[in-house]
Symmetry: C2
């Protein structure tokens, strides 16, 4: 476990990648341990600025009365996202600093889990580093991989960053309140993702207006209940 | 040099990272060689979907009558960007595939330079992989590092991805035609970047409306003339 520092209210842990670890084996171990505890881990990934934190605030405020939720905010630097989540939702939040790394691996996620304390949680959300490339290559031990593609980024992104859209079961199209301003065809994006990943499910939404967030919340509650019923 | 494949009109080269190379030494060599030829290499970086390709089309069409321009489009997959550049500007364009790598290093850039053929060029633009993290760590040998931060991404990105804004001399704020729709304060973004990089210069613009593109074009012409006058 790396050093811990307390910065104002937000606890920060620096997590370091293990070069020699077998990431897949560690991810499987972490997944099995969380399953035993009934803790559903979501690995949330996207480009920088696609709206991960804004979506989490909106989603958590819809779910926190029925689920015990924790959030691990991973960043190279700063604590702005963890502060936002804690201030706007009140749920247990920790900041993970990656010491320059562009993604989280299973060992780093495990350190985060130890840092936040998973006991009693139903839902633990890892907000990965904003990056559409590298995080997709590392299994973190999550029960669900979820990606956000924002409308301003364009509907061609699945062509250029295919792995991300292959490894995620749930895909959010965010900022749909701006769809009039940008050239983004949801049907085109869906077709491109389904070619890579025929079982992908889609959630077009706007965390700003609230449109579509309820459907994602309902989907997650259903997933978590099914997961916990077989632990 | 890796294998070359011809796909329709766009030539594709797969460039592979050299694990053992001393990247800084290779970058210096490439920079010296390009300087001797008077070829000004720009390394253009941003998140996915910030508008690198759209800006290049607008910029190149303003510059191609006074400068001989080449473009190297780096992507993990697809050739959509190279096709767009070639179709909309007519300048010499090559697609570099990174074999999964999330960034270009100096060796990969050198392979790209050999692939496209730098002779007679005034300006060579490398459109790096869309990623605000990893490309910032690798000197490609460019004369100028340029980053784009798009308005929809938010003005907090320099806090979270500081290295990118440290290593770039020129920073473009793109999609400013959408500034009414998003919470982005240009003054705030500039102040955050200047803290990391006191000499940064800023170009707020919209490639869609054309606003601000002329100022960037004029800046680049000035840089290139100064560079070529001392070769």
């Amino acid at each position: 476990m790396a050093a811990r520092i307390t910065m104002d209210k937000i606890r920060v842990i620096t997590v370091k990648q293990s070069v020699f670890a077998n990431n897949n084996a560690r991810a499987s171990e972490l997944r099995a341990s969380l399953k035993k505890q009934g803790v559903f881990l979501i690995n949330l990934m996207s480009s920088p600025g696609a709206g991960k934190t804004t979506l989490l605030v909106s989603l958590i405020n819809r779910l926190k009365d029925q689920l015990a939720i924790g959030v691990m905010e991973a960043d190279i630097d700063a604590t702005v996202d963890a502060e936002t989540i804690e201030a706007k939702t009140g749920v247990k939040t920790i900041q993970l600093h990656t010491a320059g790394e562009c993604h989280l691996d299973a060992k780093m996620t495990q350190e985060g889990c130890e840092g936040i304390g998973t006991q009693g949680l139903d839902l633990l959300i890892l907000e990965n580093v904003g990056n559409l490339v590298c995080p997709a290559e590392f299994d973190t031990g999550a029960a669900l991989n979820m990606a956000i593609l924002s409308i301003p980024e364009g509907d061609d992104k699945p062509l250029k960053y295919p792995l991300m859209f292959k490894v995620c079961q749930a895909i959010v199209f965010s900022k749909i309140d701006t769809i009039q301003v940008f050239d983004f065809e949801i049907k085109k994006a869906e077709a491109r993702i389904l070619k890579l990943n025929p079982k992908a499910v889609f959630f077009p939404l706007s965390a700003k207006t609230g449109e579509g967030v309820e459907a994602l919340a309902a989907y997650l509650v259903k997933q978590i209940k099914a997961y916990q019923s077989t632990k």
